[in-house]
Symmetry: C2
Subunit: 343 residues, 2 copies
Amino acid sequence: MEQETRQINLALIGFGHVGRAFARLLIDRRRWFLKEHGLECRITGIATRGHGTAIDHDGLPVQKILGAWKKDAGLGAFHNGPACASCADFIRQCGADILFEMSVQNMKGEPAASYIREALGAGLHVITVNKGPVATHFSQLTRLARQRDVRFLYEGTVMDGAPVFGMVRHTLPATHIHSLRGIFNSTTNYILTQMEQGAPFDAALEYTRNAGIAEADPALDLDGWDCAAKLSILIQALMGGKVKPGDIERAAISEDTGRRVRAALRRDRRLRLVARAYRQGGKVVGKVELQELEVFDPLAAIRGLSNILVMNTDTMREMAVVENDPSVEQTAYALFADLVSLL
Amino acid sequence: MEQETRQINLALIGFGHVGRAFARLLIDRRRWFLKEHGLECRITGIATRGHGTAIDHDGLPVQKILGAWKKDAGLGAFHNGPACASCADFIRQCGADILFEMSVQNMKGEPAASYIREALGAGLHVITVNKGPVATHFSQLTRLARQRDVRFLYEGTVMDGAPVFGMVRHTLPATHIHSLRGIFNSTTNYILTQMEQGAPFDAALEYTRNAGIAEADPALDLDGWDCAAKLSILIQALMGGKVKPGDIERAAISEDTGRRVRAALRRDRRLRLVARAYRQGGKVVGKVELQELEVFDPLAAIRGLSNILVMNTDTMREMAVVENDPSVEQTAYALFADLVSLL
């Protein structure tokens, strides 16, 4: 009477805060996978930049690896497979059905985009939380996935596990998005709303770095690049526009922005880093701007690390999704939700 | 090279504001259905309380019926099928695969619940926007649908087409909802926020009646019943609790509530009709209360006809969905989204 248990092999590139939170989530939900989907997820490969690489086609001992991680032991001791000279080697030899791409990236989305291309080309499904490659190579990567008949999912690139892409894809059929606006960068929103309450810029920035919220290079947050990259993905995935991060006018925030925050407050308004996209003459335009908002604007109510997406549609008029106080666990959950959607 | 077009037969009980908006939406999206799903939706039956019944197994001329409706002509002229002595007759003879239940209901959810039971029993899928039957007979109807291997969907019962149930079902896998709160009744929220701005109670109520937002009997809005029914569905569908509308403590609003609205405003707070559910000793508790909220509470920002649902979960912490200024078109879209999800 026993149901056959299917094995799914996963490989991870990157094993930082998000990767480890995802590995813990998989362990936590092991019984849920068995019960709901009759399958067992094994991690057969982990590749990192600074802690080595491990492959085991019978499944790596993830619990042990997480334990050893605290002692900064690296992955070498767990390797039980072919030698890999490169990440491309790793992708071809890890024996995985699905690659989770979480590597550290630069503004051009490299080397993440190359890893994704390699994996899709080799017939692996790919799930990523990396904005850079998705924003910069959107049409190329989605086309490649279609050609190879595999899935390419990226829910975690915008608002973590809050189901932005999933919601439009699965629950808003035949919907045309006229325009959208939102707050997508937790670091700058935290800094702006902390300054609103009188806290200094540096302390607020430091908090987001320690919480693992800020980008590895926080300049990518402060100069609006992170926000522009996310807006670019929303435009390409949901509005069919061909807008790359570089096409988006950006605003930056710095210590000096404190004066504008306080001036807005005196007028009973709130300064926010607002990303917006709208249609103009058959094209989509994207902008990241510092805007003074009326207090009753839904974006003004978004404080701290929270995020919001407001969409104007033909079917549902104006609809918003809010994510309050996300942490790395919520980014890891995006990978999990994409995984379940793929299964 | 032509793709085979599948025919799906639909029947409608009720042809008021929502039913007619749904019929218009089906006509508008005819090409979308053909292109995306390779199928054609025909309406083979419409039953109403005051305008007669029409059945045509080859598909009713919906465009013509909508045109004739303005002249108050009734459905008799379009009937081209077996005679129906009752709604049960209609359900058995309309030749539909899916029944859309939109009849006028009383507090016990009748006769809607009987129609749904009849249809599920006869092997039809059922989609409804009627809160009453879903709230009052939730376990019975969902069990019956499982036994007959058909779907029973009710997205439109809470927050119209904003994908509350769909979002949890399709995009938040393995998620446990600790608690939830929200504003689910447009009529009372419109009245409260209009009184906040100095408008009189009666004028605000009148507006919601003319806009087709208030219940046929607005007492069901004002005494919190509508809100309690929605909360009951959320608890039963999303939190696994066995809480019927009658188990929910309710607050009412009336002309006198204006004093409390103004008193709250003087303290820089906002009075809202808040529905909330939380777990206590293995059970779920539901309450509908008039609460004074701080201005930065996300529920305080909800004005006019808008609605919000805030969920506290184990995977995504706090997440919210907001629906701004809905109309009957948004309720009709809930039926449409359920239909697509079913296909």
